[in-house]
Amino acid sequence: MSLDIYKINPEFRDIMPKEIIDLEENATWAQNQDKPRGIKELPQTKELIEEHSLCAGCPEAATLRYVLSALPKPEETVIVNSTGCTSLMFPHIALHTVHSLFGNQNSVASGIKRVLEWRFPDKQKDVVVLAGDGATVDIGLDYTLQSFFRQEKITTICFDNEVYANTGGQESGMTAKGQVFKMAPTGKKFEKVPMWELAKTSGCHYSVNMTGSAPKAVAKAVREAILVAREIGPTFLNIYTPCILEIGLSANEGLGEMKAGDKHRFEFYRHVSPEAEEYLKKCKEEGLL
């Protein structure tokens, strides 16, 4: 049983730090729970992420907490990462995760998902990709789209901060046209890549563009996307999580920036294929949503 890997042997309980005991006793694992996990439990329960070194007030860090709170079955979930700011958080997630290279995350995830299906034919194991916009849309675009073409049963979540933040603020394909960043000293010359549209065209059964402003909305999208990926095929979430550092905002201004985004540039976009729609309806009836 996957949950057993968190169970501390009684002989060692007295020497284990609190965070580990908490993980066993007070995290919301899906097993032995009637209701779906969710954002509402964040305040009372042990989170699946420990302290990490992102900037104070980083919307990406907050959004990752929402994502982790919404995983339908974390004890059977594998997360694949990429390089960038996000990779500073990944070692601190209490799940099996992989960081391998910059841009290859959907390829690694494809291999893992297929092998887990092969090795555990009687279990449902979810594979979720978490990466930034540089990894998803620039250096890794081929691998992202090809995994959609191949109908890999994985969920890809792009933390879109519209910039290469970890390397010091360079233009990315997701940067808005006209924005001045490093490597675009006179402003970006072409439009932001409509990745959520590409995802739809490339075969994703569920594609969303949103901001990280509303925790509940993020959690709902994450949950739906992972459930659809389990049964139907690839799913994609683009979540705007601005780099407050690079656009000159202070630690408490990230939420405002995302809320502003909700109104125009990141107006909620949601594509659901007919098969996925039907499946989600079934999930609702079964209490999975």
């Binding site: 890997i5 059977e76 990944f90 209490a94 995760t97 992989v98 390829s107 092998v115 887990l116 081929d142």
Partner: protein, 400 residues
């Protein structure tokens, strides 16, 4: 179609009887077949209880990759698909291996270079997959010919590199490779190299055990780190962690980690010695003063040269290196006792094997090392060219 759950204590999912590597290599009765290197790799994979393979077309490895696909269609291999390009494929097999699968893939020349970043990642994450490399030239200009320059680029990736001379060796070596790579104290990727076309497309006699036996499955829980499957503690496990931008001693971690990969490669030696019958194979006159140090097809050509030289009254021997990483330094030094001239014939323009030999023997053996003859771009290296160069070396030595 077989399912992994069909596997029993004695038989794998395709109904083959599970045997030890020793039985497979040394005890099972064999019959003669006549086939190419591509075909023989299929035969090896068929007998290896392989969980996963990902493929991509590139000459000359495509046929081997097709044939592994046929094994999947027949139910011998669990997971198989065509990836988008070699960078993707090498990441896909990394995923397969990290998720606990016995994994194999193939590539050649430009594919190797495209995928390059992956190989160091493979070893760093201790993923014990096998890459069968069918060496081909590197652009530019475009070439599809046999030329093993690409191996130079792989030398310091932290992967083991073995080199097979012919179709028979490719079969035996690729089976042994799974076993050695999966040893818990080794557990790094292995590249089994052959010269493309010279082995992949050459048809020759080969002795094979029956195909109703297969190697025991890979056990991902007898490994130096947990597989990515949420089934082994610690529950919080990143393979592998990002240690930059931290206030702890990341440089020591990275240094130690890199040394550990090299140590792991070194630990493969006793296993390889046993399963390959030694890391260096010797043919020719034991007491010769001329020794060819070779790998792959250059060994063939040197043996042809050795035989012709003998007809001319010149004694020589061929020291064929079967492993390049780890480098069989101890064996080579022992075999060079009494040798005055080392000749290193190669199928690439830079002479990477000669460079290796020089670096490893420097200050340890008093011998003249001649880096050549070398051919590149797919040219053949006929015995005639070898004989001529040996005579020039001998004449120069006399003149000196």
């Amino acid at each position: 179609m077989g399912k992994i759950t069909d596997m029993t204590e004695t038989h794998n999912w395709s109904g083959q009887k599970l045997v030890s590597i020793e039985h497979m290599l040394f005890e099972a009765p064999r019959t003669k077949h006549f086939m190419t290197g591509s075909e023989v790799l299929k035969e090896a994979v068929k007998r290896a209880t392989v969980d996963a393979s990902v493929s991509y077309p590139i000459t000359p490895q495509s046929e081997a990759a097709h044939l592994i696909g046929e094994l999947w269609a027949e139910g011998y291999v669990g997971v198989y698909f065509r990836g988008e390009n070699e960078f993707g494929v090498m990441s896909e097999v990394a995923g397969c291996s990290m998720a606990g699968a016995r994994t194999v893939t193939t590539t050649s020349g430009p594919g190797t270079l495209r995928a390059m970043e992956n190989f160091a990642m493979w070893s760093g994450t201790r993923a014990p997959m096998q890459l069968c490399l069918m060496a081909r030239g590197i652009n530019s200009p475009l070439t599809i010919q046999p030329d093993n320059l690409e191996v130079q680029y792989l030398l310091e990736t932290g992967c083991m590199i073995w080199y097979a001379e012919n179709v028979q060796e490719l079969f035996d070596m690729s089976l042994a490779a799974f076993t050695v790579a999966e040893q818990p104290d080794v557990h790094v990727p292995i590249i089994t190299a052959v010269d493309g076309f010279f082995v992949s497309h050459t048809r020759e006699a080969v002795e094979l055990p029956a195909d109703d036996i297969a190697l025991k499955p890979y056990n991902p829980y007898a490994a130096p780190l947990p597989p990515i499957d949420s089934e082994m503690p610690p529950g919080r496990f990143l393979r592998d962690p990002f240690v930059m931008k931290s206030n702890y001693i990341s440089y020591a971690t990275h240094a130690s980690w890199q040394w550990e990969i090299r140590s792991a490669v070194e630990r493969s030696k006793p296993y390889a010695r046993k399963l390959l019958n030694g890391l260096v194979h010797v043919t020719g006159n034991e007491d010769a003063e001329i020794a060819f140090v070779t790998c792959g097809t250059a060994s063939n050509q040197a043996k042809e040269g050795q035989r012709e030289l003998e007809k001319l009254g010149i004694k020589s021997k061929v020291l064929k290196l079967r492993t390049i990483r780890p480098f069989p330094e101890e064996e080579l030094i022992k075999e060079l006792e009494g040798v005055k001239h080392v000749i290193v014939p190669e199928f690439n323009v830079v002479g990477w094997l000669a460079n290796e030999v020089k670096a490893k023997l420097y200050g340890k053996v008093d011998v003249n090392i001649h880096a050549g003859p070398r051919v590149a771009g797919g040219m053949s290296l006929p015995a005639e060219a070898i004989i001529q160069e040996v005579q020039e070396v001998l004449n120069a030595a006399k003149g000196a």
